[in-house]
Amino acid sequence: MSTTSSTTAQVVNNRTAVARRQMSDAAITRLFILPTIILLIVMNIFPLIYSLFLSFTEYSVIANAPPVWVGLENYVDILTDTRFWHHFAVTGRYALASVALQTVVGFGLAMLLRNKFKGSPLITTLILVPMMLSPIVVAKFWELIFSPSYGIFNYLIGFTGINPNTAWLGDSTLALWAVVIVDVWMWSPFVMLLVLAGLSAIPEYLYEAASIDRASGWFQFRRITLPQVMPLLLIAVLFRTIEAFKQFDLVSGLTGGGPGDATQTVSIRLYQLAFGDFDTGKASALAYIVLVVIIAVSNLYIRALNRAREG
């Protein structure tokens, strides 16, 4: 009897010990997501917070000297420097022109491809190819395309009467438009894709009802197509606007910010500050200013998006 009791007690103790060693479901869940959390903190959260701190310091990452607190000095220097306002102006013009043209071209392509025809899947795939390419590769071959000596771009526009020897990348007044053209070529398919998704979701009966009421094509576009597609269109425009403000590799590969500073966007200047001048503090401050601008612009789009959804 005592042996059975002691054996039972031992089994209970063992089970208790096992139970204690076994982790709860919640703990196991936390253990599994812990590596991702650590990675997120190390790669995203910590740099975000640390760079915010650095933006208030005078610091060079290669100078082997600790950061020196200077308060708002970096922000004041940037916001009172006319050169930086020039960079913002270049970036704004670029974003406005590029996104507007992408919207028009992308929407137009989507309207053309909404109805299936023979070969439309292949054509759609081919149209999507530009946005699958590496931006720096795109920049390098467009550099050749724009060559005034042997580039095909000048050859083609020569048929329109425009000077076939135009130095697109070497002219201060044209270089930004050259970058816009390349960006539109590359990213209009993205807008087209989102608009196509929106167009395919429009119920056919709306058009049937409109036809019965003898509504014109333009009326149907204005009152049915556009409102239905607007939420997705705004999402596309939002994404492209954010990307336009961050644009670096295309500009760097095509013009390097030149001629002079004619195409020197904020990203190019930020890169020079961070990796040319190694003024890490000021570069961090500029990065946060750009972040605030992007958040502000995004908020405008999101409000418009919400209105479009409610409407």
Partner: protein
Amino acid sequence: MKKLSIGLILVALVVMFGGAVQAQEITELNIWWAEWDPAGYLQQIGNEYEAETGIKVNVVQTPWGSYYGRVTTEWAAQGNAFDMVVGDSQWLGQAVTEGHYADLTEFMTTANDDGVSIADTVTPATLSYYGEYPAGSASYYAYPTEGDANGFAYRMDLFEDPEEMAAFETAYGYPLAVPQTWAELRDIAEFFTRPDDGQYGVGVYTQIDYDAITMGFENIFFSYGADWSDADLNVLGVVNSPESVAALELYRELYTFAPPGTNNAFFAEMNDLFVNGQAAMVMNYFAFFPALDNASINPYRDVTGYFSMPAGPDGDRFAALGGQGMSVNNYIDDARKQASLDFITWFATEEVQARWAEVGGYTCNINVLQSEAFLTQTPYNAAFAESMTFVKDFYNIPEFGTLLESAQRNLHAHIVGGEGTAQETMDNMAAEIDEALADAGYFD
């Protein structure tokens, strides 16, 4: 659990000390350099070092446009990815004051058994420009590895064509020949600019990345009597002097005689222009002329001549300094530093420097530079040796990056973009450089 812990600790100790022992046996050295032909030549020399010593030498190359960024990133990390770096002369100030380069003063000035130090074996100009900081301090941080300067390649067949010669003399009043002054070079460039025939007079540096357009401009800038500062580092009235404005006007004029599409051109584009027959003359660093002396690359190889920079209006003659010195990474351990110094000691011997010149490197060794073998080895070596007697450099202070960015941007805007006048450009540049130097505390 206890046994497992002890076992883990033991393994860790073995790895630690085993690794430490391993670190003393240097089996390879890493040298970082830009991606260009001389780096390939250095790899050849490195292979010979491996054959002699068993230590493998890896010359890791990075494109010029991103070379500085890659090296500075490694500095920021205090990394040991390289043992030696062949750095640009402009980097010296920054690298020395920020502690990235090991001090080589004692190493280079200690005499060997023959009473000769490494510093004695190289030309004073190259030792000063490629290795010394601050200027005149006799403190050295690099061994002059690749001497280089800007020169010109030209089409001898065009220059020596009787009809061309007659037409030129009729138009300009003096014989067509290798230009002795920048004014003559301008005339020749204009003479050979024939857009309808797809031929242009000259190719000049215009690249906005790093330092290309500034280096190209410097050839005329210095030769016209201009400078980046006076003895007290004052720039106002110096950088924007009448001489520098005249130099800029000439450089912009030369760009109008360049083939279209050279708005962002550096060494590769210069050679392309020449081998494609688009330009009668091209400027380039001598380090890139071996390609033009290669018949499989240059169809005009047999009629390609070379000359060093012409003189300015007052007879001053300068060439923009190129080239680099080899420095030792201050963040590697002592064993690797010693192994690096051993390599440099071997590399600096006259036999190896002669071999370096033979494979295509531009030695700074005095004896090799003066040898008949070197001067006659290639069609451009004589012009190179001459150029190395009047080279001049940009700032090499720690703030050079900021100053260079101002020069690059302003020069590119005016020369390529056609913005503003030459006076406005130089005034703007002078103001920006002055502000940068003031912010850095040079005028306290």
